[in-house]
């Protein structure tokens, strides 16, 4: 994605670059033409002019950036509010559990250091898989080891 975002034209083709690089003085022992090409690509690129915003465009830009900040603020506040509510709810439940039953409370605060999110948990995508949700899931059959009676 990032690759395609950075676009532009270079006048020389790869072969031309190689040819042009050949007579260039090579510093050091084992000179590789490809290094010379990389050097040119990295440091001898035509630079683009930075957009010079002024007048109406500048006014528009500042309004847009301001609105974007406002939007991000709103989103962040909404998220924080929701999380805070959930946190307080959870905290209240734990307080209640502590009052209700010491045994249950102690079991609830046990934590594993080796816990991870399961790999089945998938990150949302732009479109769902064509198969859709797997409604027909059945748990894998547990192989019960034969008991020695």
């Amino acid at each position: 994605m990032s690759l395609f975002a950075r676009t532009g034209r270079l006048s020389l083709s790869r072969q031309q670059l190689l040819r042009a690089a050949a007579p260039a003085p090579v510093t050091g022992g084992s000179g590789d033409q490809r290094l010379e090409i990389i050097r040119r690509v990295l440091f001898e690129q035509p630079t683009r002019e930075t957009p010079n915003l002024e007048g109406e465009a500048l006014q528009q830009h500042e309004t847009i950036e301001r609105a974007w900040k406002l939007h991000q603020n709103q989103e962040r506040e909404r998220r924080n509010r929701e999380l805070e509510k959930k946190f307080r709810k959870m905290s209240a439940a734990m307080n209640e559990l502590e009052k209700t039953s010491d045994r249950l409370f102690k079991a609830a605060i046990v934590k594993s250091r080796h816990i991870t999110f399961p790999r089945e948990m998938k990150i949302p995508t732009e479109t769902p898989s064509p198969q859709g949700w797997n409604h027909d899931y059945t748990p894998p059959v547990e192989v019960v080891p034969a008991k020695n009676s």
Binding site: A5, M90, I109, P118, E120, E126, P128, Y137
Partner: protein, 282 residues
């Protein structure tokens, strides 16, 4: 049976306080200060696709993408593409589309490229074979509003609610009494399996409750459960990754997967008020 009820705790024997002999006996529900303790399950299906961006988000993204392009270092295309290769040709086509889109502030760079890519693929036979098949963001279940389907409301979090065979307070999250000697998360796992069947791939998020709800039993109920005048439900959080709810038709007669917004249509207002803070808006 024994294996299942054994507390699956860490720290080995520390919590294995129950002896095998008692576990086989019929277990009494746990009662604490006149309240029966119950374990509820907030089983959620997480969003399957990313949400729709707002019109402003879309417009801002297009705008900043163009600004960025204006000041970014140009791509050394000849470094990345072999001369005369298909990749180069396509990149040039994309680039032409981008140049065109740059001129008009109403056009989006990303969408301009998408269009040329679709054209290229239609023209090219080899990529036809590799074409990705994707589902639609609006599924069939959405159109039918099939509240039992997990293919519905793909951008939102869906919660499982079940219907008990009674008139009042019929709909609620799956829940069941914690038995003597049982822990909350064990009870939650057991209840979910009893009420909704085994055919769900479920992951419980931690062992602690994420919310609670206390209520008094109605008059006729009190007689049924001696020693308790109400119940305290502690909700456990869980995600479902596959499978579907199969109600046992005894304790539970119906089920639905609903979003937070739809929940008030099913449950009583006091129940909704008690649980709304632990549910996600999205």
């Amino acid at each position: 049976m024994i294996a299942r009820t054994l507390p699956r705790m860490l720290g080995k024997g520390a919590h294995l306080s129950r002896s095998f002999a008692t576990s086989i006996q019929a277990r009494a529900p746990l009662v604490s200060s006149n309240y029966r303790i119950a374990s509820g399950i907030v089983l959620s299906r997480t969003p399957q696709i990313t949400r729709d961006s707002t019109p402003f988000e879309k417009a801002y993204f297009d705008y900043s993408e163009k600004l960025e392009r204006q000041s970014a270092i140009p791509l050394p295309a000849d470094f990345y593409f072999k001369k005369g290769s298909l990749a180069e040709r396509r990149w040039k086509e994309d680039e032409a589309a981008r140049m065109k889109a740059m001129a008009d502030p109403k056009l989006s760079l990303s969408e301009a490229v998408k269009e040329t890519q679709v054209k290229q693929e239609d023209a090219d036979v080899t990529t036809q074979m590799n074409k990705f098949e994707t589902g639609s963001r609006l599924s069939e279940a959405d159109k039918k509003n099939d509240i039992k389907s997990l293919n519905r409301a793909l951008q939102r979090t869906l919660y499982l609610i079940v219907k008990k065979p009674r008139d009042q307070h019929a709909w609620q999250f799956p829940q069941g009494a914690v038995e003597e000697g049982e822990y909350l998360h064990d009870a939650a796992e057991r209840e979910l399996e009893e009420e909704c069947g085994k055919n769900m791939d479920v992951w419980f998020v931690g062992r602690q409750p994420v919310g609670h709800y206390a209520y008094k039993f109605p008059e006729d109920h009190v007689a049924k459960y001696p020693g308790a005048t109400g119940a305290k439900v502690f909700f456990m959080k869980a995600h479902v990754f596959a499978g579907q709810c199969n109600p046992d038709n005894k304790e539970v007669v119906d089920f639905a997967w609903v979003t937070k917004d739809e929940l008030p249509n099913y449950v009583s207002p006091e129940y909704f008020n008690a649980v709304k803070d632990m549910l996600s808006d999205l």
